[in-house]
Structures are given as structure tokens and as C-alpha cells.
């Protein structure tokens, strides 16, 4: 049984020009203790997807359809009060910007205690303090008792991201959504944070939904990968399969454009053009205008995900390509 099952999720933004679709029929599934990476370039809808799962989309964004089953409970069908009770306790989120995601006027300890209090009012002040200090210790913040009383501006970016993780994990959620958790950090700190997430996952058995544009991060942490392009998932596979045998032309292009030190290439291959904005999506396969293999058949309708092999699905009418 899977921890998270997303079925045909649609997210739209209501604008004066009409509804703009950001997430267009996405299916995902994630088992407990596993890591699913959602990969895609800017504007492909991956952050809108994350916020839709949390039901934190700000106006004018809204979820227009689909189901989000977390341990067989449809989050989209819950009342706002029930959904609030799920946030933090069942599903939590870590954001991209550790520098601005902590409230500057409160100490980090107070903010972690606040996250715990949101779900358990019975804890005493000293219990909360102890729990918050051990939460800081769990994310490997040195001398947590001292850091407890520090304001966020005294901490480095990496430290703040650790605090954010401690806050997100304060109530032992079953699913952690991490939206580009390492993008704002430098590379060494990036590796430390990913290690930390992996260790905590091994300890608690939580599912991790990792949203990223960095294929290096994917290779390092993910079990499963979903590649998103223009609001749709174009390829789903295990991380090993995806890197060994990418099938969708977009995935092939992405993997081809990673700089490698072991190959002598005169020029780094790129994918020409950029992701079309939602109001300019082509009627057929959305990658067709940038695809080297596209022909008239690609412009009829967006191809659905089709199973190539167990655990490997591709949305391309010409897959599998012959290797």
C-alpha cells in the first residue's frame, strides 16, 4: 500500500483571462520510507503541485480536481479545520528559502515549540522546551540548548534550514514535502542537509517528496522519480532506471545536458527553447515544439502515460526508443 497516492490532480490559477492550468492531471505514488523526486525546470508546475498537496495555494490558485490520498484519506475532501489538523502532524513541508522562512521576531526555540503546540495543547512549557531542544539536536544543530534562545538572524542558511526541518518534523509527520530544500544553500551544506533528511527518513520511515530541478540531488537521494514538463508528468521510473534508460525525449535531453567531467565534449548539449507558459501550451504533446523526434502525430493530443516496463511509465507515442 502506498503512503501517498495522487490521482489526476489539476491545479488552476484564476486570472482575468480565464483559468490558467498549472498542474494538469498529475498521478504520483509514494510508499512509506521511500523518496520520490519530482523533477522539472522552472515553471513546470512542481511548486504549485507541492502547495496543492498541502492545500496552501494562495488565491487565485485553486485545486480544480483529482484526489490526494494520504494513508487512504482524501486530503482534498477534508474540511479546512480537519486539513489544518493534518498539516504538520501528518504532512509537513520544508521550503526553499531558509533565510526568510523563519519569523525574525521570535527565537528559533519558540517557533519549534509553536509548531508542537499547534497539535498538542496538553504539553507543559518545560516539556515543550525539552522536546524542542531534542528536535534541534536531532537535526544536528551543535549546542541546541544555546541555539534554542537565538533569533534566526544569528544562524547561517544551513542552520536555518535545519531549524526548518526540525520545525516540520516536530510532530512526526508521515510525509515530508521538501520544495527545493537545498537550492538556496551552497554545495557542501546541500550535501549535509540531504544526508540529514536521508538519516531521519531511515529513522522514522516517513515518505519524502522531494521537489527539485537538480538532477544531482535526485541521483543522490531519490528512489523514484517523476519528471514534470509543462504541468504534466512525462516520465515515471525508479531512479536507477531513469538514469540508465531514459525514455522520454525531454528526460533524455535533461540527462544529456548535465556537465560531465569524464567526457570531452566541445559544447554542452542543451534543449532549445524554453517551457511554454500555461496559456501557450500546444494542443498535442507539450514538448513537441522543442522535440527533435516530433512529427504531425505528436500535435494531435497530449499522450498519456503508458507502461513500458513494470515501474517505468512514459508519455511519448514513440517510446520505447530503440537503444
Amino acid at each position: 500500500m502506498s503512503l501517498l497516492q495522487v490521482e489526476n490532480l489539476r491545479t488552476v490559477f484564476d486570472t482575468r483571462q480565464g483559468a490558467v492550468v498549472a498542474v494538469d492531471g498529475v498521478d504520483l505514488s509514494l510508499a512509506a520510507g521511500r523518496t520520490l523526486a519530482v523533477v522539472g525546470e522552472s515553471g513546470c508546475g512542481k511548486s504549485a503541485l507541492a502547495l496543492s498537496l498541502m492545500r496552501l495555494l494562495a488565491h487565485p490558485g485553486r485545486v480544480a480536481g483529482g484526489r490526494v490520498l494520504l494513508e487512504d484519506e482524501d486530503l482534498l475532501a477534508l474540511s479546512p479545520a480537519k486539513m489544518r489538523a493534518r498539516r504538520g502532524s501528518r504532512v509537513a513541508m520544508v521550503f526553499q528559502e531558509p533565510m526568510t522562512s523563519l519569523n525574525p521576531v521570535h527565537t528559533v526555540g519558540a517557533q519549534i515549540m509553536e509548531a508542537m503546540r499547534a497539535h498538542d495543547r496538553s504539553l507543559s512549557k518545560s516539556d515543550l522546551r525539552d522536546a524542542a531542544i531534542s528536535a534541534l539536536a536531532r537535526v544536528r544543530i551543535p549546542s541546541p540548548e544555546r541555539r534554542f534562545d537565538d533569533h534566526p538572524h544569528r544562524l547561517s542558511g544551513g542552520m536555518r534550514q535545519r531549524v526548518m526541518i526540525a520545525m516540520a518534523l516536530a510532530c512526526q509527520p508521515r510525509l515530508l514535502i521538501a520544495d527545493e530544500p537545498t537550492t538556496a544553500l551552497d554545495v557542501t551544506v546541500q550535501a549535509q542537509i540531504l544526508d540529514l533528511l536521508r538519516d531521519i527518513q531511515a529513522e522514522t520511515g516517513m515518505g519524502l517528496l522531494l521537489i527539485t530541478h537538480d538532477l544531482g540531488v535526485v541521483a543522490e537521494t531519490a528512489d523514484e522519480v517523476a519528471v514534470m514538463y509543462a504541468g504534466r508528468v512525462v516520465e515515471r521510473a525508479s531512479a536507477t532506471d531513469l538514469f540508465a534508460d531514459p525514455q522520454h525525449p525531454y528526460t533524455i535531453g535533461l540527462l544529456g545536458s548535465i556537465p560531465r567531467m569524464d567526457l570531452e565534449t566541445p559544447r554542452l548539449p542543451t534543449i532549445e527553447g524554453s517551457v511554454p507558459p500555461p496559456f501557450a501550451w500546444p494542443p498535442g504533446c507539450r514538448f513537441a515544439p522543442r522535440c527533435a523526434f516530433a512529427d504531425a502525430a505528436c500535435e494531435v493530443a497530449p499522450p498519456p502515460l503508458a507502461m513500458l516496463a513494470p515501474g517505468h511509465e512514459v508519455a511519448c507515442i514513440y517510446a520505447p526508443v530503440d537503444a
Binding site: L56, R84, R87, G88, T100, P104, V105, E114, A170
Partner: protein, 282 residues
């Protein structure tokens, strides 16, 4: 490391770096203390008349002279400060609490924003003096009517400033992060939204205190507020008006007190704004 990080001077220190602001703050503190301890500081009962010595000029037995009924001006000034400050602070607190609540609610629940802010626009279109007149006509003149009128005049201003500040804060990442931990709306407003809106509200409240005292004194001067024989600065100035040519001190002393308080509030408010606004910081 801690020395470098705490190098930013405290707001209080920044305010006191400005000589005028330090003087204004000291003056206001003095006024508040005088008002608080009026019963102990006043040499005689402010309502006791001495008909043998009416309109005595300042100096002599009565340090600030006596008024038209031979009451001690110093004692009346101290008690008058008390009444005027109480009126101003009450109106500011009532109007501030209601106004800030409305502003925060409008910023948090955007659905209510339009209705609430149009309501504030309607309130803003009533001149405070006119509204005070109407209230006095309905309930009879008195300090309660003045406080209500001044509160009503303060609510929309506070609501607007609170809303505009809160809208900026609502867009911050930490608000989203707090909601992601499952925090409820009221707690979010109290713990995350309100504390980050304090600075501009504090500046405005200081400036507004001066305006409210001025307006309140004006209403009392017009006879809508404090009634005789109550010692209140505006009412005292009105009583002294009759004797302006024989005994100018009766009108001048309370007027100077009002002038001093309002000026001090304005100077302090400006200094606070300079200290709290990081963009104006040298």
C-alpha cells in the same frame, strides 16, 4: 561574533541620539508622572474656591495664580493633565485595539477586505468634531461622548495602517511556513502577523496621541466634553477666554500645556519613525 551581531543599536538608543526627541520623551514622561501623582503633588484641592483672591497672577502664594473663581491654577493644571491624558489614552487604546483588529482581519481574510475597508472609508468621511457634536446632542455632553467620538475617528486610520502593513507581512515566507505546521488562523495572526506589524503602528499611535488630545481639548473647549467644574485642559482654556484681557494666564497656562504635549508627541513620533524605518537609518 555576538558583538558584531549586536552592533545594531537599540531603537531606544537611536531615539535618544536625537536631542529634540530625548527632550520630547522626557517632557512626556514628566507630564505622565505629574498626572499620575496629581493628588499628592497638588498644593490644594483643585475645586476649592478662594473668593478673596480671584485671578491673582502667577507668583506669590499661588505659584501659577488663580482662576476666575479663585481656584489654584497649579492644582487645576495637574488634575487637568490627568483628565486630558486619560481621555486621549482611552480613545487611542479603544480606537487602536478595534482598528488594528479590523486591519489584521482584513489582511488575513481577503474575502472580508473589501467590505471592511469600505466601511472604514465611510467612517473616515465623518469629521471627528461633527461626530462629537452629534454624540453630545444624543447622550448629552461629557467625557464619555468625547472618548467615543475620538475612538471612532481613530479606528479607520489604525485599520488602514494595520492592513497595509499586514498585507506585506502576509506575503512573507514565514507565514506560509507557519501555516504548513498546522497553525490556526487566530494564532497565526497573534503570533506571527501582529508582532511584525508593531513598528509602523507604534509610530502612528504616538503621532495620533497628540492629535487625539488636541481634538479632545477642542471638543471640551466647545463645551461638548468635560463640564464645569471638572478640571480639563480644553475646558479650562475655554473658561479663561472670558478673562483673556485682565488675567491671560488662566487661558494661556492650559493652552501651553496642550501645545507642549502635542508638540512632544509629534517630535517623538517622528524620531520613532526614523529609528524604526531601516531605510531611513544612516
Amino acid at each position: 561574533m555576538s558583538a558584531a551581531l549586536s552592533a545594531r543599536p537599540s531603537v531606544l538608543r537611536l531615539v535618544f541620539r536625537d536631542v529634540a526627541a530625548a527632550a520630547a520623551a522626557s517632557f512626556l514622561l514628566l507630564v505622565v508622572l505629574a498626572a499620575l501623582f496629581a493628588p499628592w503633588l497638588a498644593p490644594v484641592d483643585p475645586y476649592e474656591t478662594d473668593l478673596m483672591s480671584v485671578m491673582t497672577p502667577p507668583g506669590g502664594d499661588y505659584i501659577l495664580g488663580t482662576d476666575g473663581q479663585g481656584r489654584d491654577m497649579l492644582s487645576r493644571l495637574l488634575f487637568g493633565l490627568r483628565m486630558t491624558l486619560l481621555m486621549g489614552v482611552a480613545a487611542l487604546v479603544v480606537g487602536g485595539v478595534i482598528g488594528v483588529s479590523i486591519g489584521l482581519i482584513a489582511a488575513h481574510w481577503r474575502r472580508l477586505d473589501g467590505v471592511l475597508m469600505r466601511l472604514m472609508d465611510v467612517m473616515l468621511s465623518f469629521p471627528a468634531i461633527l461626530f462629537g457634536l452629534a454624540l453630545a446632542a444624543i447622550f448629552g455632553p461629557g467625557l464619555v461622548a468625547v472618548v467615543i467620538a475620538l475612538s471612532v475617528a481613530t479606528v479607520p486610520l489604525m485599520a488602514r495602517i494595520a492592513r497595509s502593513t499586514a498585507l506585506v507581512v502576509m506575503a512573507q515566507d514565514y507565514i506560509e511556513a507557519a501555516r504548513a505546521t498546522g497553525m490556526g488562523s487566530f494564532r497565526l495572526i497573534r503570533r506571527h502577523l501582529a508582532p511584525n506589524c508593531v513598528a509602523p503602528l507604534l509610530v502612528f499611535a504616538t503621532l495620533r496621541l497628540g492629535q487625539v488630545i488636541l481634538l479632545g481639548s477642542a471638543l471640551s473647549f466647545l463645551g461638548l466634553g468635560a463640564q464645569a467644574p471638572t478640571a480639563e485642559l480644553g475646558a479650562m482654556a475655554a473658561q479663561g477666554r472670558t478673562f483673556l484681557f485682565f488675567a491671560p494666564h488662566i487661558a494661556v497656562i492650559p493652552s501651553l500645556a496642550i501645545f507642549g504635549i502635542v508638540l512632544a508627541c509629534n517630535v517623538l513620533g517622528d524620531a520613532l519613525r526614523d529609528a524604526l524605518d531601516p531605510k531611513l537609518r544612516p
